[in-house]
Structures are given as structure tokens and as C-alpha cells.
Point group: C2
Chain length 405, copies 2
């Protein structure tokens, strides 16, 4: 391969044709660029005759955010590809297969999942995904346990920490999630209607102490190899399948950050039901589906993680002490709640929002949804170190909703 | 340089003669190998005519412990040399100057400190070191603050974490300090007279929970670039000078592990005064010097670390919250106490002992010193998460001594 250059559709077709044993010899390949062009090129390459297709994702050497372009390492292509390959071994069937990776071009060629939809879009459309809680909890339990000091050789884990050092993408999280929302930063973006709520965050020292403690964990705690961006936009679903994609933010961090991302985005959709549900009965029904999913995600994760530990734990001292296990799992839930709170708050007042709320057309409903999300998020942050049960997380959402009603 | 080979004295002389601007042209150099041969070759090379001298330290590709030889990475030579160079910038005058490093030979050439003595030997001889507390606290505050997320660019810190990944030397600590002493391991080594005390450790689930929590911090918390082995055998002293040596265990870990090492070894000497002091009055007097030093080490460290944070803190959120600072410093003291406890216990029942206690010739005095050390160590481990003041650490030592008297 030559030096790095952004691929044209024709380049993409030649690379695809060269992949062994994929497309039939001499196939007439079609190619569409389907990325949003902000961070990556994404090519969909297909052979209509055989019905075969694949996805080719190339990292761009910059990110486009709010019109501005800033340089961003191509190394995230390597990180994404290596994490997908690891995930494929630890959680088979729950990530796209990787067919090919080229380091120079920062290019990953993988399974086409065009029959799936992005879960965030599916939830907005009012769909339910009966496999999601079971699959995402399996994905998290397997990938997090087996990359942690509980489940893998502790010396190899240290080498793996080194391979997944990801400063530039971590910096995005550190700024946009764990800093900007709590000060009057030019990166923030929020509707004028809720300026008072944003200002309240900037003045709330008690809340900021909790965020500082969570930020410290994000900066220092190399607990497991995280996906790092596990929101509902990073999950492809059908009713029968769940595929986790886009792990370019992968790094060694606190386990609760991944679980918190999953739960936060269910609760953001919960807040958005202010608009997306047809009426009060439908709203309460869909919200119950969402809180049931929150409960199932945590409970299934916790029981699978404990089962792996019981059967495959490699740390003698950690295995020996049952009270250590209890404390460990209790702290995971607390971290999950705290990180979920941070991830909710930043989607309302920070740079990057979610369509569950931003696409609400009616200004009053949107403001109500935003205030509800902030009430849930700040409650989770404020109470994170005292939370003892997933029911308290759900109660935070339900009682904020009932106060907002 | 050619491929790695252990140097002869003649090799060492040729390398020394080639170092620019050190020895006079044509000097007649003398060389002695002064290492203990367990881990490293150490050559002392001098020119009697000019009075100039230097130390040449070469890592050996194995460690000799209890007669057995096990392979050990030469990369620790790089880690030691890079850490010494960093320390020299952050804490000038408190480490030997590095003149030259060769990666292939795993060789560091540095300042000769033959006019200093190893502090452990000095304490056994009954000497006091008026500069130690001030110097070691400066060394720790400077090197730990400026390598942490509080004091250095947080993206460069992540790259530095990668450079100091040190699996093999961390494994020694993980096994010998955070595992073996708490089970009937063949690596343990203790006098039959205290078998009951060793067995008590193996059965003590409450203690083991605390050790598991401290072990987890050692495994996962990349808080700052540690020396990693900061006992009184890694410090060269005179009454007017303090030099920290031998940072081959350096890695990113919890700050309290370095401070705990310093304090633990003062307290091991405290226990050894059972024998080394001439009489009860001398014992009580030297022990007061040691506990005063423990207090000064912590208090000076804490005030210097806080001052650096106040003046040079780079984390907006961490700087903004005064209650975060208080919590952070409180946890550092608790970690210090817990790690100090682990470091004391392992020196009594684990593989590697200290001469402060092992060289006590009288069996009864030795046993008394060992039991006293274990009483102090286990008290610190047991209470670590509740400790609020350095006085509680000192009280643990004093009350164990008074019960033992």
C-alpha cells in the first residue's frame, strides 16, 4: 500500500476486489460513500450479482465539529480495528466481523450490517429490542471481565494497556463530558430557554465535586478495556440481533463508564418520550419498557460478570474474599450511575447532543424533555456514591418524570 | 555498541574512558565491581590522579533470589535510566546525575555517591539524618505531582504511562507484597518462632479484604509515575545530602505506594530498635526521632504537594473544588498507611526481609521485633480506610510498642 490518502470510491473498489475469497472473481462491484464525513469515510461495496457486500471504514486525519476542522490521529483506526478483533473473540456475534485492516491507510474492512438499524433511531421510531439487554450485557461482561485484572493475565494486561493508550480521543471525552458542561465554556451548546439550568450547573460546587471524582477515575483507573463510547448510536440492532460498532474511543478505563453510557442513552430516550410517545398512556408504557431495559442491562451484566469471576477469576486474593467481590460490584453500580449522569448532562448543555431530544420539533416539549434529562442526570451524579441498587437509578428517572409532569 | 553481554571490568574501563569530558585524556582508570550480583553489575571506576570517579550499572538478564535464577527483562535498565533523568529535572540534586545510557547494553553511567551511605545502614548504626524528611518529601512532591494528571499535560501523561509499563517488576511486587504473605506460599520465609503469626495472616479475612483493595489500586490506579521501591535501602544519605537511587521498579501507580514505602521502612527500623538501641532510654529517644521523621515526611509532603497544586495545578475542575482537594489528600494519607502496612508485613513473613530486623543476633529480641513490626503493619492495613491524621499512624506504632514492652 502507498502512503496515507483519503480513498476515492474507485480506490475502495480496487481494495475490495483484492480481498481474497470474498467477492467472486471478476464481479462488477458497486460503491457508495455513506459516512457523514465528520470523522471517517465509510464505503458500502456490493456485488449485486452474488448479493455479497462489505463496509470499508477509513479514518480521516481530522474531525469536523461545529464547522471547525481539527487534526485527529489516524491511530484511532488501528485502535478501532484491534478492539473489534478482540471483541469478536470475547463476544462472538456481537460485533461486525473484521475482514481486513491496513495500518497505513487507517482502513478497516468489515461485515456489512445494512439490514440493522442504529438503535437510537429505532427507539425514536418507538421500536423495542427484546435482545438488547441480554446481548449488550453479554458484550460488556465478556469484554470487560476478560480485559481486567480479574480475568486476564495481569502482565499481558499491562502490555495491552500500552497498546490502547488513546490520548486524543480521551481528550474529547475529558473536555466535552467532564469539564465544559460545568463551566461557561465556548464549547457548550444549549437552548437559551434552559440557560438558567446551565448556569445552575456552573455554580453547583457539590455537583462539581462528584464530577471531579468521576473525572479522576476516567483519567487514572485502568480497570478494563472499554468501548469508550457505548451509547445507543454505537449499537446496530434488529429484533433478533445486536452488533456493537465504532470502538475508536477504546482505552483502559473504569468499567462503569461503558455501562453508564448504555444506561444514560436509554434515559435520554426516556426524557425524549415527552414528545415521541403519542399520548400519556403510550408514554408511560414506553418509559416502562426503557426502565425495564435499564434494570435488565445492569442485572444481567452483574450476574454474568459475577459468574465469569466465580468460574474464571485469575486473581487469588480477589477470588478469595467474598466481601471484596460485594464491594467491587457495589462500586461498579455506583460508578455506572455517576458516569450515566455525566453522559446525560453533557447531551443537554454540552457540545454534542442526541436526536432523541434535539429533533423534538415543539419548543415547549423539547424544553420539558431537556429539563427532565438534566434532573435525572444531576440526581445520578449527586447520589452516585450512595447508590446501593439499580432501583435507585430507575427511581431517579421516575420521580424526576413525575415532578416534571 | 555490540549486542548485549555482561561487561568485564576491562569493558567497563573502555566505555568510561570514551565518555567525553569526564576523565582526563589518557587517565589510568581503576575499576571494581561492587554490586551484589543478584540483579545488576555495578562498577566503580576512578582516576586516582584527578580524583574523579563514576558508577556504571548494568542490568543482568536474570534475578538471583534464594539461590534460584529467574529471567528478568533488561528493559528495566531503560526504565531506571529514564526515570533518573526525569527525576533529575523535577527534583534537582536529589538523584545521581546520569552521564550516559546505552540501551543495548542496558547500561547507565552515573554520579559516584561513595561518600554517602545507604540510609538503612545509617539508621542501624544509630545515625540521624536531619535532611532526610525535607529532601524525601521534596523528591516525592515534585516527582509525583508533576507526573500526575494534576501537574502535567494529561495527554502527554498517557504517553508517559505507556513508556513506563513495567510488567515484570510489577509482578514481583504483586506477588511478594500483595499475595504471598496472606497465604501459605512457598515463596514465604519466616522464623519458625512466629509461625503462629504468619498463620494468623492466612486466616484473617478482614485483613485480606483490605489487602485486596490495596492490591487493586496497585494494579489499576495510574495516578503518578512512582519510584516503586522507595525504602531506606534506595536512599543514599549523608547528614547534608539525600540521593534517591535504583528506580527500576518505576511505573504509573498509586501515590501512596511511594510514601508508604518511606514510612514503612522507618517503622521497620523502629521495630528493630528492640535490639539496636543500647537501653530503654536510648530506644525511646531513637524511636521518637523515627516517629518525628514519619510525621515530618507526611506533613512536609502534604504541604509541598498542596502548594504545587495551588500554584501549578492544570486540571480546571480539580483546581476549582476545595472539597475535592481535601478528599484527595485524605485518600493519599489513607493509601499511604495501607501500603506502609503491606510493606511492613511482607518484610517479616515474605520472601525478602530487611537487615534492621534480620541481623538482630539475639533470637528473643528478634522475635519481639518481628511481632512488633507485624502488630504495626496489620494495624495500619486494618485501619487504612479510616485514618484521618498522620498521628494515627504514629499512634499505631507507639501503642504496639507499648503493648509489646
Amino acid at each position: 500500500m502507498s502512503a496515507y490518502h483519503p480513498l476515492t470510491e474507485q480506490d475502495a473498489i480496487s481494495i475490495a476486489a483484492d480481498i481474497e475469497h470474498f467477492f467472486p472473481e471478476g464481479a462488477s462491484l458497486q460503491c457508495r460513500e455513506i459516512g457523514d464525513g465528520n470523522l471517517n469515510l465509510v464505503f458500502h461495496i456490493s456485488d449485486p450479482a452474488s448479493g455479497k457486500s462489505l463496509i470499508m471504514k477509513q479514518a480521516l486525519p481530522y474531525a469536523k465539529v461545529v464547522g471547525e476542522s481539527w487534526p485527529l490521529t489516524l491511530d484511532r483506526g488501528r485502535i478501532e480495528s484491534e478492539k473489534l478483533v478482540l471483541d469478536g473473540k470475547l463476544a462472538p456475534g456481537l460485533v461486525p466481523n473484521v475482514y481486513f485492516y491496513d495500518a497505513v491507510l487507517a482502513l478497516t474492512v468489515m461485515e456489512d450490517l445494512s439490514d440493522h438499524v442504529i438503535m437510537r433511531q429505532g427507539l425514536i421510531a418507538g421500536n423495542r429490542y427484546p435482545r438488547y439487554a441480554d446481548d449488550i450485557s453479554t458484550y460488556m461482561a465478556q469484554t470487560l471481565f476478560y480485559s481486567s485484572d480479574l480475568g486476564m493475565n495481569q502482565q499481558q494486561k499491562k502490555e495491552q494497556v500500552g497498546k490502547f493508550i488513546n490520548p486524543e480521543l480521551c481528550k474529547i471525552t475529558e473536555d466535552l463530558i467532564f469539564d465544559d458542561p460545568y463551566t461557561d465554556s465556548p464549547n457548550n451548546s444549549f437552548d437559551e430557554a434552559i440557560r438558567d439550568a446551565a448556569q445552575a450547573l456552573w455554580a453547583d460546587e457539590e455537583l462539581q465535586l462528584e464530577v471531579a471524582l468521576l473525572r479522576e477515575k476516567f483519567l487514572t483507573q485502568a480497570q478494563a478495556l472499554l468501548h469508550g463510547d457505548l451509547h445507543t448510536g454505537s449499537v446496530f440492532v434488529t429484533e433478533a440481533s445486536t452488533k456493537v460498532i465504532d470502538p475508536e474511543f477504546a482505552f483502559y478505563g473504569p468499567i462503569g463508564f461503558d455501562i453508564g453510557a448504555a444506561i444514560a442513552n436509554l434515559l435520554l430516550n426516556f426524557a425524549g418520550q415527552e414528545h415521541w410517545s403519542a399520548d400519556a398512556a403510550a408514554r408511560s408504557d414506553f418509559r416502562r419498557y426503557l426502565t425495564d431495559t435499564v434494570r435488565n442491562v445492569w442485572q444481567l451484566f452483574a450476574s454474568k460478570f459475577r459468574a465469569l469471576w466465580d468460574e474464571h477469576g485469575i486473581d487469588r486474593l480477589a477470588n478469595a474474599s467474598s466481601s471484596y467481590k460485594e464491594l467491587y460490584m457495589a462500586r461498579l453500580l455506583q460508578d455506572t450511575a455517576g458516569f450515566a449522569g455525566c453522559k446525560i448532562v453533557r447531551r443537554i448543555v454540552g457540545l454534542s447532543h442526541v436526536v432523541d431530544i434535539d429533533r423534538i420539533p415543539d419548543a415547549a416539549a423539547k424544553e420539558k424533555a431537556q429539563r427532565l434529562a438534566l434532573a435525572i442526570g444531576t440526581a445520578l451524579i449527586r447520589n452516585n456514591r450512595n447508590i446501593q441498587s439499580i432501583e435507585e437509578v430507575i427511581d431517579a428517572a421516575l420521580s424526576a418524570a413525575s415532578e416534571s409532569a
